[in-house]
Homo-oligomer: 654 residues x 2
């Protein structure tokens, strides 16, 4: 097999500087031109030159009020004691707001200050008008030839008004950079051609990076053209790049094939067509990025090879493509907000590589806590779920839990401040609560992090979340959660709020082919199990049941194979990775698995009393207690919500 | 004449609450529906319901690296000392990233860790593979049926990726509210129909509020339909509103005619078609706003009558229309940023009315200073020039200069931090510097406020700006600016930087019909003058020249009639408001006036030494010293730029 390596790995800033300087030198055609667009299509375009007013505004002295236009000097004698009568059509002229003053007049007396007499032939005023009273003077807003807007300004609603008032109906704006996106990969199918049923059945792999790129590029002022998918073949890739260049692309993005695998041809194709400056950048995710310039006839066109995994691809786009578009359009990058956050968990990292870790955030009191999302480069939900990104610098081995760091915000501060942070056991009803909370209170949301019941209580005891989701069985009493609160929440007065009773049972393939009906079956040679992680309520339940039966965990095949959520153990069973898991009925129902009940457990929310009166907690309780919530949960199967929202216990922290 | 008054004036929040509650009650049809849209058109739409994954992602266990798929357990004996040979096609299967694992395998060994032997019939590994190594497991990202996105979420690039990965190709989103905009007014002409030459000549008044509304509404998630302009006639307005309602508008905006003038029919038409809840709101600008609901057949449709002046109209839109759209789409309003700012000037206000004052901002050291823009409701440039809005509450008579207040930001903090604040005399070259500065340094800008030369030095002495524009003649020495700096900048070490020498002269109508050639002509009975404000360099020059000739200012007709800029006195002459002004040649050239030179003066920038090394100041000096700048200034006429950028004097503040 051909071997391929990152021969020219560089730090991202260094890579960007190198590529940009070569582009500036070799691709003069990429220096953007300008074009005139009608105002109706000018929103969010960027002005390419100073805009001079073509007209004055107002273009004449005009009435600022409805009334009569007069020569002010002719009214100077008017007073309450000596009202002055003005002849309409000679000394006074009826006028409406916005209309030009008749010649010889220089003030307006408003209609409310007049008495009409003599069948409308005259008006009487008791006050002298001063010159230019209630008059909008010529050029008050702008004078023809004045510069009213500078180049580089993005045209928003207000600028449209200023341009129109200035008579500039076709402003000069920068041409939009044209970006050709070429998806590649023999295994992927275009979204346009993918059928929902094939997607559902897992028969096709949808290509969606181009859709994400297009959105990012469009919002950065560019236009994209997504070209047909190219197979993993160097000649086909070469032809596709040349065709895009000949069709006038300012920038070409190859998606996937930029890594150092045996079927990754992007870097070598770029080299064969021109110059390759960078292959590999020292940032994770994002590493497999290639930067170069290709020649197509007379044109030299910048090319970026972006990684195939969506999270890596995004980093490459944000690190190289968006800055290039900003540079070409002579505007700043989108403003980024930063916030000091405290990681709830340690964030280990590989020295020599910068790592970008996506996190969810929750403001607990004055501190903003961060919980990291799964780091897989293929985990697209880590993009849509993230509130912020934490960068772990190249020169360290990671960040410590509890030590403040700066995070780059993806959501607004307002959205972050509206979030309740729940840490602990995962249950599908938490997603439902989030959805309902947002519907009833658009400012609020429930941000959940899944670390198991015990992890949730520990986070709550450290003040790192508002509430915890918990289903911890006490082996002694058979009671749920109270003893665990006493053990782990010393000094943290809190409320135990019932969320739902839920069935636990074995998740098995439809028809239960292995005939698994009791815990003893887990010892069978032909049965493999998939476990939940330590500290999860389901793990406690399993251990409790094994111990009660005198069964050794080591004898359960797969006991050490762990997943973090009910849905993930269900998926493991569905895929044949294991024959059996312990989990909730809803997870089985969701994936069409069979469910063998082994008992009912109590899933509760533990709310720190410090937040019990917070309006977000109150809104959450309203949701849990609503009949809409109970019905939706009942529809999921395996839940009993009769006591949902009941405060089961007030723990004073002693 | 019919009299009309604001019978139902209300505070804006009270007005909004009343209107919204009546809309909720009477207009159920306005409760938004939902629709499914293809992903390709879903950017920035808002999800109307929880999104469940239709597929798991990955949909199978797949290779995360290029290499061979193996059963991990079969490799446990491999080590550097005992390399393990695996037969290709039996124990090991070549696989590319993203492809599904063959049945019976559960790990991938990457190509870099293999030696190929036996002509490719076997591969050798020196390391045991652990189960699930380099495998993306089924459902690792999302499991089918899981809720992956909540309702109310705005679809951005990342969400598009998550939706596609979840197999959701047509997400359910809220329908866009449809807003009908009806411009009215017998004097206005649609932008589509206005010709640039008619606009330039001031022959037509362009209608552009609908364009501004459309942009604001589009960016708030709505769609607008701008309907034909309606004349100021109650029957026509009535018919237009009914037609818009029948065409399915969710909201109707009448533009103009909502005031209490004699030709303002909107409020009474709304009352005649349904209910009028509010006429007049206690906020300036924005007062002439009417809120109601009309009946059209079976439909009840909310109507807002917005003021005709653009700045007032914007306030009405932001106060009522955008919040209604947000409410209907169940999303929050655009996040607003606030900053503490210090007004440089007092902001008087009328008690009983909230005032919203648009300001420009400059960060001078750690303090952000605010300079107010002209407050006229027709001043559309106050919209496009503003960096922020200061609200003066209803219950006070204004805000003091120098006392910090909160301002709502229009620009980003980054933009504000990149601005140099220049206060002082106005000169057209300042606008040119701003344009050039933005072109060379997209992060920087020059924000200028025009208060005359003396006002600029006083602001600089108070530390309220970075630099001042100044042309103050010393009567004793005939020298420029040095004495004024000694007089007013005690304790403020500063640099006097030459900007340009410029001609001053009389601005007169083309052909100089009144034959004005010398200062003595200003005493003539048939000559009227328009003056610059006190403290301006031009005013000092005039007073100097009058005094030198023993002429009494009171004898100059129009001496007390003041304007704040060269362009505005030029406009006054062009419009016939005055026969003559003293000003720079560029202003005359810009408006096609004749210019009678009376001398050359020195226009300088005074830079506080504290900022002399600031990179923004350095960038500004680079601009002033560039040949491009000199050429552009020369093209304006009347300037000598040979010494531009020279530091004329270093004043140590003693």
């Amino acid at each position: 097999m051909a071997r391929n390596t990152y021969l020219t790995m560089k730090a991202p800033e260094e890579a960007r500087e190198l590529w940009f300087s070569r582009i500036a030198e070799l691709c003069p055609c990429a220096a953007l031109g300008e074009e005139e667009v009608p105002l109706q299509q000018a929103l969010r375009r960027v002005l390419s030159r100073p805009v001079e007013a073509l007209r004055s505004s107002p273009a004449f002295h005009g009435a600022a009020m409805d009334g009569v236009a007069v020569k002010a000097e002719a009214t100077f004698t008017a007073s309450a004691r000596r009202p002055l009568s003005l002849e309409v059509g000679k000394d006074a002229f009826w006028i409406n707001t916005g209309h030009p003053l008749p010649a010889g007049t220089n003030a307006v007396i408003k209609v409310e200050d007049l008495n009409v007499e003599d069948e409308g032939r005259s008006v009487v005023t008791e006050k002298a008008a001063f010159p230019w009273q209630h008059v909008r003077k010529l050029g008050e807003d702008m004078v023809a030839t004045e510069i009213i807007l500078a180049p580089g300004i993005e045209i928003g609603a207000y600028e449209l008004g200023a341009l129109a008032a200035a008579g500039v109906l076709r402003p000069a704006v920068f041409r939009r950079p044209k970006v050709a996106v070429i998806p590649s990969g023999s295994e992927i199918v275009s979204l346009d051609k993918a059928k929902e049923e094939d997607l559902r059945a897992g028969r096709v792999l949808p290509e969606f990076n181009s859709l994400v790129f297009s959105a990012l590029i469009q919002e950065a002022g560019g236009v994209t053209e997504t070209r047909p998918i190219v197979p993993d073949d160097p000649d086909a890739i070469r032809a596709a790049i040349l065709a895009a260049a000949e069709d006038g692309a300012d920038l070409i993005m190859m998606n996937a094939g930029s890594s150092a695998g045996s079927h990754d041809y992007t870097a070598s194709v770029i080299r064969s067509l021109g110059e390759l400056y960078v292959h590999g950048i020292a940032v994770m995710p994002g590493k497999p990025t290639a930067l170069g310039i290709v020649r197509a006839g007379e044109r030299m066109v910048p090319v970026i090879g972006t990684p195939g995994y969506p999270v890596s691809a995004i980093v490459a786009v944000e690190e190289f493509v968006l800055p290039l578009l900003a540079l070409w359009q002579k505007r700043g990058l989108r403003h980024k907000e930063y916030m000091d956050v405290v990681p709830c968990n340690a964030l280990p990292s590989r020295p020599g590589m910068e790592e970008r870790i996506r996190v969810r955030l929750g403001m607990v009191g004055d501190t903003c806590y961060a919980v990291s999302l799964p780091r897989g480069a293929g985990t697209v939900t880590s993009l849509s779920r993230a509130d912020a990104v934490i960068r772990v610098p190249r020169d360290c081995e990671g960040l410590d839990a509890g030590k403040p760091v700066q995070a780059e915000l993806i959501r607004t501060r307002e959205q972050i401040e509206g979030a309740l942070l729940v840490i602990g056991s995962h249950d599908n009803t938490l997603d439902l609560i989030d959805s309902m909370l947002r519907r009833t209170h658009p400012r609020f949301r429930l941000t959940s992090a899944h670390v198991g019941s015990l992890g949730g209580l520990l986070a709550l005891s450290r003040g790192q979340c508002h509430l915890a989701g918990c289903h911890l069985l006490d082996e002694g009493t058979g009671d749920y959660n109270r003893q665990a609160m006493r053990d782990h929440l010393k000094g943290v007065p809190s409320l135990l709020v019932h969320l739902a009773d839920r069935e636990q049972g074995f998740l098995v393939l439809p028809g239960n082919p292995k005939g698994i009906t009791r815990f003893e079956d887990l010892l069978r040679e032909d049965v493999s199990f998939i476990n939940r992680q330590r500290g999860s309520g389901t793990r406690v339940l399993l251990d409790y049941e094994l111990k009660a039966r005198g069964m050794l965990p080591a004898k359960v095949r797969g006991y050490r194979d762990e997943e973090y959520t009910h849905m993930n153990v269900a998926a493991a069973v569905l895929s044949g990775r294991a024959d059996c898991a312990l989990g909730v009925r809803a997870a089985a129902a969701a994936l069409g698995l069979d469910f063998v009940p082994v008992g009912v457990e109590q899933y509760d929310l533990v709310v720190a009393k410090a937040w019990a009166d917070d309006e977000r907690i109150q809104a959450l309780l309203d949701v849990i207690r609503s009949s809409e919530f109970r019905k939706a949960v009942a529809d999921m199967g395996g839940y009993d919500t009769r006591r949902s929202g009941e405060v089961l216990w007030e723990y004073d922290g002693d």
